[in-house]
Every structure is written in C-alpha cells, then in structure tokens.
C-alpha cells in the first residue's frame, strides 16, 4: 500500500513534466484549459479512488446477490432432494400395491 502511494506520488511529477513539455512546445495544438500537471494528478487520484470504490462496491454487490441466489438455490436443491425421496416413497408404495393385488 505504502509502496504504491510512493510510486504514484514520486514519478508522476517527472512524467507529467515530460508530457506537458512537448504538448506546450508544439504550436499546432491548442492548449487545453486546466490540463496542467496538478489537475491531471488530481483527476487521476480521484479516478483511482472512484475506481477502487466502484470495484469494492461491485464486489460487495456480487457477494450480496450471490448470497441471495445461493440461498434460494440451496433451498431449491433441498426441496428437489425431498421430492426425490417422496418419489421413491411413492414408487415403493405402488410396488407394494401391485404385490397386494
């Protein structure tokens, strides 16, 4: 975690400077408003946080929905096994009925 933040914090300024320099130097391109180093940094940080949040949210959602459907499925399987047992019982009863006749 610490390493990651250091990595994020340390090289970005350099990289940002390198990127920013040619963009500024080339006269063909109009300078985009607010595309300075701080904004990009800030935006990326925000994006990272948002992505993290979304990822964690999605994992929570997946867990929650998974649990709900797993429970329903488990109950369904429980019912299915019961019905198997009942069917066995019914066939046993029928066999006995045949024998009695």
């Amino acid at each position: 975690m610490n390493d990651a933040t250091i990595l994020l914090a340390a090289p970005t300024p350099g990289a940002g400077a390198n990127e920013a320099a040619p963009a500024a130097g080339a006269g063909d391109y109009e300078k985009v408003e607010g595309r300075d180093r701080e904004t990009i940094e800030c935006q990326r940080a925000c994006e990272a946080v948002a992505a993290d949040k979304t990822a964690s949210d999605y994992s929570h959602i997946v867990w929650a929905y998974g649990v709900i459907w797993a429970l329903f499925c488990a109950y369904g399987i429980f019912l299915w096994r019961r019905s198997q047992r009942l069917a066995d019982d019914i066939s046993a009863l029928n066999r006995k009925l045949e024998r009695v006749r």
Partner: protein, 251 residues
C-alpha cells in the same frame, strides 16, 4: 393449485429477473451518497418484506391448524417458516454486506437489523421444534409461530425504543419515483420465486401426509388379507413386508 402454479411462478420470476438486473444496473440513477452499493437495496428490502409477510402467514396458518386440525394449514405453516428462514438469512447476510460498504461496519445494532435478527431466531426455533420435538410438539410449534407473528410489530417497536439513545440510521428514507419503479419488479420477481418455492414445499408436505395415509391403508389391506387367510404363509409374508418398510424408514 396443482403442479402448474409453482412452475408459472418460477417462470415469471426467471423472466422478470433479467429485466430487474437491467433496470437495477442500467436504468436506475446512482444514489448520490452511497453510489453503486446502494443497488443491493433492490433485493435486500423486498426480501425483508417477504420475510415479514411469510412470518405473518406462518402465524395465521398455525392458528388455523390449531383451531381445526387442518393438515393443509400445517403444511402452509411449515413452508412459510422455512421461507422466513431462507429469506431472513438472505436479509441478514446482505444487510451487513451493504453496511460494510457504506458505514465500514457490518453490524451496527440498527433497529431494523436487530428486529430482523430476533424474528429470524423465533422462526429458527419453530423449525427446530418441528424437527426435534417429540410427537405432539406440533401444537407447541404452532403456538410458537403464533407468538412469532404477533411479535413482528412488537419486536420492531421494542427494538426502536431500546435504541432511542442511539442515532437513527435512516437508510431507506424517501425514494425518488424511478427507484420505486425499479423496486417493484424486483419485489415481484423475488415474491414469485419464494411463493413458488413455498407452494412446492406445501405440495410436498401434503403429499407426505397423504403418503402416510397410503401406507397405513395398504397396511390395513395386508392385515385384513392375512386375517382372512388362516394359513401360516400369510403371516410370514406380512412380516417380510414390515421388515422392508422398517429398513426403508431407517434410510
């Protein structure tokens, strides 16, 4: 009722489910404070409602069972209690997941959480008594279910006053109409699924009761036949059958 109604319900649930997912994830706006996690809400809350509803259904069915010894009501009570258990478990697990994502804490002793938990315990006790109780405890279990149904509002109120000193977490609050519009199909899908499961369970229980009757009848027939045959062979045959039945019961 028959076999088709549960199938229709299952089909309806399965058909509505993709629509629900589509609505939940693509058509409904993001909740501002909680973001994506809030989407748990669309299944969590309907499940909680289903749980309460089934609790009350179980209590009423149990009362009918006590009053007029109806085996159909008994089957309904059992099935409803099991749905309460399943739905309640769903609520009790998804709730903390949601809480963990938003508050950073899974269990906050929120009034709703506690009352749901207590209610679930009562119906778990019902299922335990039905399963482990001796002969005659089905009436006791029925009384338990009746108290459980009565306790639905009482427990909620009790927990609320018990929590008066703590801050009130108003989670659901007021919902914008588009969220309601998503909630309804989800409720419909889940309700259809649980009703389908419940009807299946009722059918099984009723079938089991009539099967019991069938075995008793057939036993009667066998006995009357052996009573008519005065020979020893009939007796032997009867004994063999009885042995087979016993071994089946043990399985």
């Amino acid at each position: 009722m028959g076999r088709t109604l549960p199938l229709v319900l299952f089909a309806f649930g399965a058909g509505t489910f993709p629509y629900c997912v589509q609505r939940v994830f693509f058509s409904t706006p993001m909740e501002r404070q909680m973001g994506t996690v809030q989407k748990i809400f669309y299944f969590h809350v309907p499940l909680a409602w289903i749980m309460m509803l089934m609790g009350v259904v179980c209590g009423i069915a149990a009362a009918i069972q006590l009053r007029r010894q109806s085996s159909r009501a008994e089957a309904t009570a059992i099935a409803a209690a099991e749905i309460v258990l399943v739905a309640g478990l769903g609520v009790l697990i998804t709730g903390p997941i949601w809480g963990h994502a938003t508050w950073g804490k899974a269990w906050t002793w929120d009034a709703r959480q506690v009352s749901t938990g207590l209610l679930w315990l009562i119906f778990a006790a019902y299922v335990l008594v039905r399963h482990y109780g001796a002969a005659g405890s089905e009436r006791l279990a029925a009384a338990l279910a009746i108290f459980g149904a009565i306790d639905v509002p009482i427990i909620y109120y009790a927990v609320k006053i018990w929590k008066t000193t703590h801050p009130d977490n108003n989670v659901v609050g007021t919902l914008p109409p588009e969220m309601w519009a998503t909630l309804w199909p989800c409720l419909a899908a889940l309700l259809a699924m649980s009703l389908g499961l419940m009807l299946t369970r009722i059918r099984q229980e009723v079938a089991e009761i009539s099967l019991d009757e069938g075995w008793v009848r057939i036993d009667d027939v066998v006995r009357s036949m052996t009573a008519k045959d005065d020979g020893k062979d009939a007796d032997k045959d009867d004994g063999k059958d009885a042995d087979k039945d016993a071994s089946k019961d043990e399985e």
